[in-house]
């Protein structure tokens, strides 16, 4: 369990009138929390949500009965964008068993950054399918680990079966400047998408 934080909360400026959110998603261990931490102006925070999932096909490998309670840890951070607007970044688990939480998380999100580890592409198939199904604007961001092989973009695109409009970005998420550029590139992609629709 996570204990309640005893530190004084870092309050927003009183002039802020509203907030937006962007999801950072991907498989376990891909670097979601690291990216949120690199971008956030506050120490990243964590909440735990309890989900009850019923049924066939969910969590078969555990051999548990058909009803299971799962605790999901959500790590998130914040950026104050201006005197009137704040941005929240939610690290969102991409595994299928956490999908019940997605409805709440994705409602109103500007979009999602899907972090991918190119050494374990198959672990991202689930979450990419979900993003496509829910029509959430998203970009793929390949997290560059020290031993990450440099795949040509076309090869990655084919392996991930991405639609042409989905950009593939690259980032070492531990690097704050690189993470910041990634976020700007992603929001610029959202802008182009909104421009085409308007």
């Amino acid at each position: 369990m996570v204990s309640a934080s005893s530190a004084e909360p870092a309050y927003l400026p009183s002039s802020v009138q509203g907030a937006v959110k962007i999801l950072v998603t991907g498989p376990f261990g891909v670097g979601k929390t690291t990216l949120v931490g690199a971008l956030s102006e506050i120490d990243p925070l964590r909440t735990e949500e309890t989900m009850t999932s019923v049924g066939e096909g969910v969590d078969d490998v555990t051999g548990r009965p058909h009803k299971a309670t799962t605790t999901v840890a959500l790590d998130f951070g914040r950026i104050t964008l201006s005197s009137r607007l704040a941005l929240y970044l939610f690290g969102t688990p991409g595994q299928q068993r956490f999908w019940p939480l997605w409805e709440d998380l994705s409602r109103g999100a500007l979009g999602a950054i899907a972090l991918v580890d190119s050494r374990r592409l198959e672990e991202s198939f689930d979450v990419l399918g979900l993003l496509e199904e829910q029509r959430i604007p998203f970009a793929v961001a390949v997290n560059v680990f020290p031993d990450t092989p440099a795949y040509p973009e076309a090869e990655l695109r084919t392996a991930l079966d991405l639609l042409p409009g989905v950009p593939i970005l690259t980032c070492d998420v531990r690097d704050e400047d690189a993470a910041h550029r990634l976020l700007i590139d992603f929001v610029d992609h959202l802008r182009v998408g909104a421009l085409e629709l308007s």
Binding site: Y11, L110, L197
Partner: protein, 114 residues
């Protein structure tokens, strides 16, 4: 929190957590200045929410600081909202689709950070 763990429905007075769409993770909260709340109508967690929200914080942040699931916090805040004790600023994204102007505002903000 000083008392031991209780199941979420105890904290929320047994009410359902479903169907409360008005509050989102990124909704912003601020206790109405100078509000006087009858301690008989709010519980300990709600008093903690009012204390914490003397300045502006999101639903998610308040939940994290108080060690409560967001779903539970939403129900607590809903009551405080009904009582007129807390001010709720809805998410900046109003519609199904984010308006171009809002995305541009985010972009301008991010570019000014560095």
């Amino acid at each position: 929190m000083s008392r031991g763990p209780v199941r979420p429905y105890v904290i929320t007075g047994g009410r359902s957590l479903a169907g409360r769409d008005a509050l989102e993770f990124e909704s912003l909260l601020r206790t109405v200045p100078g509000v006087a709340v009858d301690p008989m109508v709010v519980n300990r967690e709600q008093l903690a929410v009012l204390e914490m929200c003397r300045e502006l914080l999101s639903v998610a942040e308040v939940a994290a600081h108080l060690g409560l699931p967001i779903s539970v916090l939403k129900v607590l805040v809903d009551d405080l909202w009904e009582l007129g004790a807390i001010q709720v600023l809805p998410p900046a994204r109003p519609a199904e689709r984010a308006p171009l102007a809002l995305i541009e505002e985010v972009l301008v903000g991010l570019r000014q950070l560095r």
